[in-house]
Symmetry: C2
Subunit: 194 residues, 2 copies
DNA sequence: GGCCGCTAAATGAATAATCATTCAGATTTT
DNA sequence: AAAATCTGAATGATTATTCATTTAGCGGCC
C-alpha cells in the first residue's frame, strides 16, 4: 500500500474520532482502529497526537478557504459577495459536519499553539469579509462609518454561531439558504422596520 | 478558617488555572497550589475535577445573566434594550477576562455533559435577545420577516466573536462602547448606505 | 517462473510518564 | 478530648510513545 494512502486514512479517521470524543478524550488506539492501522503506524506519519490535530486543520481548512475566495471573486456586487460568503460558510458546515464540529470545538482550545494557529488561519478567512466591506464602502454602497474590522467579526460571528447550532443539533433546525439570506439581509438592511 | 472561604478560594484559583492552561491540561495540584490548599482538600469541596468546572460556570455565569436581565428590563425601547445588552456583554468580557476566556474555550468542549450544559445556560441568555426582538416586532419597530431564532444567534454570535478578540489579544483593540454601538447599529440600520 | 537477499513499512506488546483520587494520620476547632 | 477539618504521600488507572520483531515489496540471478 502506498504511504500516501495511510496518511489520508489516518487523517480521515482522526476527523471522525476527534469529532466524536474530542481531542483530549480521543485515544490514539481509537484512531488506529478506525483507520485499520496499528497504533505504531500512526507515529510513522505524525510526530504526536497534537500533530494529527494540526494536520487535520491544515489540510482541510486550507482547501475550504481557497474555495470560498474563488466563489466570492466570481461576484461583482459587494452585497452579492456577502451573500455568497454566508451561503458557502453554512453549506460547508452542513456537508462536512465532523470537520465543522472539530473547528467549533477544538480550534477554541486554550493550548498556546492552537491559539496562535487560530489567529493566523482565521485572519485569512475573515479578512475576505473585511475586503468586501471596504470595496463596498469605496463604491458608496456601504456606510462609511462602519469599521471593517468590527463588521468582519460580527458577520463571521453570526455565521459561526449558526454553525454551532447545526453542530449541536441532530437536525438542522433552519434551512441553509433561508438562514444565509436572513443573515446577509440583517447585515445589509438591518432589522429596523423602514 | 471557615469552609465557605475555602470553597471560594478554590473556585477563584480554578478560574485562573483553567483560563491559563485549559481544563484538560490544568492539574488539580496546580489549582491546589494557587488556592494555597492541599490537593486532597479540593475533594472535600468538590466531587471531581469536572465538578469544579461546572461550579465555576454555575456560580459565575448565573450572576452575570441575572445582572443582564435586570439592566435590559430597565429600558423601555427595544432598540435601546439591544444596545444595553451589547454593552453589558462586552463589558463583562473586559472586566472578567479569565472567566470570559473559560467561557470561550471550555464551554465549547465536545464533552457530552458540557454540550448539554451549554445548551441550557446559553438558551437562557440568548433568549433575552429573541424576547427583545419579538417585543419590537409586536410594536412594529422591527421587521416582521426576521426570525427571532436566527436573529438572536446572529446578534449573540457577533458579540461573542468580538469577545474572542478581547480574550486572544493582550490589549482590547477597540473601545468597548464604540464596539457595542457599531454592532447594535449594524443590526438595526444595516450596513447599506441609505 | 521461482528463489534469494535486502530494505522499507507495519505491527502491537511493553514501557514510562502523568495525574486524578484516596485515605491514614496530623492539626485545628469547639 | 472529641469532632471537624485538613494534609500530601501513595495508589492505581490511563494512555501516549517506543522499539524489537515481523511482514511485504522488489530487483537481480539462475
Amino acid at each position: 500500500m502506498k504511504s500516501s494512502d495511510k496518511h489520508e486514512k489516518i487523517i480521515r479517521a482522526a476527523v471522525k474520532v476527534f469529532a466524536k470524543k474530542g481531542f483530549f478524550s480521543a485515544r490514539i488506539s481509537d484512531i488506529a482502529k478506525v483507520a485499520k492501522v496499528a497504533d505504531g503506524t500512526i507515529y510513522l506519519y505524525f510526530n504526536n497526537k497534537f500533530d494529527i490535530l494540526i494536520s487535520v486543520f491544515d489540510e482541510e481548512i486550507g482547501k475550504f478557504i481557497a474555495q470560498t475566495k474563488k466563489l466570492v471573486d466570481q461576484e461583482e456586487n459587494p452585497r452579492k459577495k456577502l451573500e455568497v460568503f454566508a451561503l458557502k460558510h453554512l453549506s460547508m458546515a452542513k456537508e462536512n459536519k465532523s470537520l465543522a464540529e472539530i473547528i467549533q470545538m477544538e480550534l477554541r482550545q486554550s493550548h498556546k499553539l492552537i491559539k496562535e494557529y487560530r489567529k493566523t488561519i482565521f485572519s485569512e478567512y475573515v479578512d475576505i469579509i473585511s475586503a468586501i466591506i471596504r470595496q463596498g464602502q469605496e463604491k458608496n454602497i456601504f456606510r462609511k462609518d462602519i469599521k471593517p474590522g468590527i463588521a468582519k467579526r460580527a458577520y463571521f460571528g453570526a455565521l459561526d454561531e449558526m454553525t454551532r447550532l447545526w453542530v449541536l443539533s441532530p437536525k438542522p433546525p433552519y434551512d441553509i439558504k433561508e438562514t444565509a439570506k436572513q443573515i446577509s439581509s440583517m447585515f445589509l438592511q438591518g432589522i429596523n422596520a423602514e
